[in-house]
């Protein structure tokens, strides 16, 4: 087995780099390509960040993937910000704008220019950086804390290097969080959470309502903030893998695949083909059981217990299958650095095939029942609509984006692992199918029904992918190319990404100075990208539709709060 990376250049990387150099000239101090598809652009001054970011968005059609801050003061004397933009459309590139932010002193605390007003998707990242690193985004209109709630002192920043993981910071009394006040005759507020009525995660929702209609909704999250990123800096690489599975339990395979991918890139390791295929199979199993659960939830929320019961039976079957396959009902323990920890021998892959085929068969029957029930369809249609413009501005991913007609899918836009050779849906093979699909996408209205149908389509596609991959499993029995710690150069870094059932998850790792440590682990799950969508989706809907809209987006609180 070769462990080396084939040293051929990415076809688009060089031209992308030269376009940037041509436009910005000496304002860029360096442009280089790393890890096959990452174009790193060093901005000479942090003041160039807004212009560079807008150029990437408007001219190169980049989509903000993540913003990473890291405290590199001890190494290079400054904080470093990295803005990663993904360019899909068959290009498969990530352009990463890097800028330094000096520490400053008491008189001039560290600041960086905000891009939130022109690129709203950046708002939450900037607030997070302010909380965790103490860098103030100048020009971001929202100065409220995000990750750390009101009992946290203003001058303690957990992701700075001098902060110790185990520090118990004394609680301080601060003013209550300020929600946006909607005033006027007949406007009232409903506070909901963080402890909800159902079996779901904690979060606070503040509704401003006029009669039954929602005039404004503000979400307040981060109740499940567990310090994932800081913790990762204190663990061994293999232990961070276990942590990545537990960022959001129901997307364990997607998150751990993204993490593994990032570390493997730094190490220059390519897992064996069979391992990548097994990763893909498990990722699709995860997608199927979660979509089944969400569709069951939608059925519950419209009061159609029959559909919910049937779909929940199917979900349970899938979870039992997960247990057979991976020894865990949530598919924990599938991934390993450099490969996978489980195999799919013939009899087990037959079992998988058998189960998913009957599940699909049953699934189609249940879905056709749901589609033929007017009381279900009436509730789904037109509820919780998200316009295409909002999708683009907020940088939504996954089902939320596809339901509104924006055809994004990391498995196709930035193919990784086995997805490089898998057709993930039947729409993108011939020009005719592509055009047909474009017309289909343009018709999507971004309502709960559209997301319902997107999920149904996802389930069918996933089952087909599993069938296809299992039929072509590589015969070489190797499942693991060990990642050698010596191969991981200190401060080597890479992006890892995957498409979870919620959408794109992006992980950035930077290797630490000591062997077998991480300097920084930045996670951005699909939930972080999609949470703002709910505030838009529920506008002008009635309060009673909120659970339905919420379920249709199926966001993870834990994946957002880290």
């Amino acid at each position: 087995m070769t462990t080396g990376r084939v040293a051929i250049a990415h076809p688009g990387a060089a031209s992308c780099g030269s376009r940037l150099l041509e436009r910005f000239g000496t304002r860029l101090t360096a442009v280089r390509t790393m890890n096959w598809n990452e174009v790193h652009v060093d901005a000479g001054s942090k003041d160039d960040i807004p212009e560079l970011c807008l150029y990437l968005r408007d001219e190169l059609k980049g989509v903000l993937g993540t913003i990473v801050c890291s405290d590199e003061r001890r190494v290079s004397g400054a904080f470093v910000l990295r803005y990663a933009f993904g360019i899909g459309n068959g290009e498969d590139l990530f352009v990463i704008v890097t800028a330094r932010v000096e520490q400053g002193d008491y008189a001039s605390p560290p600041v960086f220019p905000s891009i939130a007003l022109s690129l709203p998707a950046a708002t939450l990242y900037e607030r997070e950086i302010k909380d965790m690193f103490g860098l103030t985004p100048v020009g971001n209109p929202d100065t409220r804390p995000l990750t750390l709630h009101e009992h946290w002192p203003d001058d303690v920043f957990p992701l700075r290097k001098e902060f110790e993981l185990g520090t118990k910071v004394a609680k301080v009394l601060k003013r209550d969080y300020e929600f946006l006040k909607v005033e006027g005759e007949g406007v009232s507020e409903i506070p909901v959470g963080p402890v909800h009525a159902g079996i779901i995660e904690p979060g606070h929702f503040r509704f401003s309502i006029l009669g039954e209609s929602i005039v404004n909704l503000e979400t307040r999250l981060f109740y499940t903030h567990r310090g994932v990123e800081k913790l990762a800096e204190n663990l061994k690489l293999e232990q961070v893998l276990l942590l990545s599975e537990r960022i959001s339990g129901d997307e364990a395979v997607a998150n751990s695949s993204a993490y593994c991918q990032a570390v493997e890139k730094v190490a220059g390791v390519v897992p064996p083909p069979r391992a990548l295929q097994i990763r893909a199979v498990c990722a699709e199993l995860e997608r199927v059981y979660n979509h089944l659960g969400t569709l069951a939830g939608l059925s519950t929320d419209v009061g159609f217990a029959f559909g919910a019961a049937r779909l929940n039976i199917l979900k349970e079957r899938m979870m039992q299958l997960n247990e057979e396959v991976a020894g865990s009902r949530l598919l924990f323990g599938v991934n390993r650095l450099g490969g996978v920890g489980i195999d799919l021998p013939l009899e087990r892959s037959r079992l998988v095939k058998g189960v998913i085929d009957t599940v699909l068969d049953d699934f189609n029957r249940v879905i056709s029942r749901l589609r033929n029930d007017s009381s279900v369809m009436d509730r789904l249609r037109g509820t919780g609509a998200i316009g295409l413009k909002d999708v683009a501005e907020l940088g939504l991913v996954g089902v939320a984006a596809r339901g509104s007609g924006l055809d994004v899918d990391t498995r196709r836009d930035h193919p990784y692992g086995a997805y490089r050779s898998i057709v993930i849906d039947p729409h993108h093979d011939t020009p005719r199918h592509i055009t047909e699909h474009e017309v289909e996408m343009a018709k999507r209205r971004g309502d709960v029904l559209a997301r319902f149908e997107t999920r149904v389509e996802d389930v069918v596609n996933s089952v087909n992918i599993i069938d296809e991959v299992l039929g072509n499993l590589d015969c070489e029995p190797e499942l693991l190319v060990p990642v050698q710690m010596e191969a991981l150069k200190p401060f080597g870094h890479a992006l890892g990404y995957a498409e979870s059932h919620r959408g794109q998850t992006v992980h950035w790792v930077m290797i630490g100075e000591e062997p077998d440590t991480l300097f920084r682990y930045k996670v951005r799950t699909a939930s972080f990208a999609n949470w703002p969508a709910i505030e838009v989706a529920v506008l002008n809907d009635i309060v009673a539709d909120f659970p339905l809209v919420n379920k249709s987006l199926d966001l993870s609180y834990a994946g957002n709060d880290l």
Partner: protein
């Protein structure tokens, strides 16, 4: 022409008694439900280097070594264990992963087992029907009405939520055992708490506890709620919900399978008496 499928499928009658579903009444052989010391591991002296390596690699710090009366001893804290199985891979002569689920307990100290441990409790492999029947009998006898549960996520990864929610699906169907989930703590007998007890959830958890009428039982679900699990005790977590509210029952696992939750409830009902 498409032939009609002879299978009635999921829309046919008697789906609930579907053989494929009910046959899997116990966990799959590959399920990582519990970790235990290999019984014969006490026969030979311990390889100290190996012990130290295993201790170091164990992410939630469930494995610890100490000198007791001049003898080197290993302990395994099932309250911390996330059942990743790395210890078994590294030291198969010492540790064994089992498919039965780790036994829920009343006292935190009961989760810690020492090596060698001939009396170390093995994993439980009761089916849901078995535990459910016992639970149902107890609930009827002790309460004479249904047992009401309020679930609180105090900072979990949502893995435990998936399993708690599974209790309500038609396969586990917990309501047939006289147990149901309620929307408000004011209606609850039992608080089923998951998660690390995050700093941001601390006051909400306390207030939920205070809002629950006495007598009440608190169940810590999973490694996180029991001890902090993989997340430990940090600036953002509390090292287990026991540091925020008093805990009556600990259910180990990451996440505990629904059978383990049922078993935890079985213990909880006794506490109400």
């Amino acid at each position: 022409m498409k032939k009609t499928n002879p299978r009635h499928g999921i829309l046919g009658d008697h789906v609930e008694t579907d053989k494929r579903v009910l046959d899997v009444a116990r966990s799959a052989p590959s399920f990582r439900g519990d970790v235990a010391f290999v019984p014969s591991s006490g026969d030979r002296p311990l390889d100290l280097d190996l012990c130290r390596q295993v201790e170091e690699i164990c992410a939630p710090k469930a494995i610890a070594s100490a000198e007791v009366n001049g003898r080197f001893q290993l302990t395994l804290d099932k309250g911390r264990c996330i059942m990743c199985g790395i210890c078994e891979e590294m030291a198969p002569a010492l540790f064994k992963v089992q498919s039965g689920f780790a036994r829920p307990v009343r006292r935190r100290s009961d989760l810690v087992v020492a090596q060698p441990s001939d009396k170390s409790p093995t994993g439980l492999d009761h089916s849901r029907e078995e535990i459910g029947r016992r639970l149902s009998e107890k609930v009827t006898k002790i309460l004479g009405r249904s047992l009401a549960i309020r679930e609180v996520d105090a900072g979990s990864c949502n893995g435990c939520e998936v399993e708690v929610a599974a209790l309500n699906n038609p396969i586990y169907d917990i309501e047939r055992f006289g147990v149901h989930f309620v929307a408000s703590p004011r209606h609850a007998d039992v608080l089923l708490v998951t998660g690390v007890g995050s700093r941001n959830m601390e006051s909400a958890l306390k207030r939920t506890y205070d809002a629950t009428p006495d007598p009440k039982v608190v169940i810590a679900v999973g490694a996180c709620a029991s001890t902090g699990g993989l997340f430990g005790d940090t600036y953002a977590t509390s090292g287990g919900i026991g540091n925020i509210v008093p805990v009556d029952i600990f259910v180990p696992g990451c996440p505990p399978r629904p059978e383990a939750l049922l078993y935890g409830l079985l213990l909880a009902v006794d506490r109400i008496r």
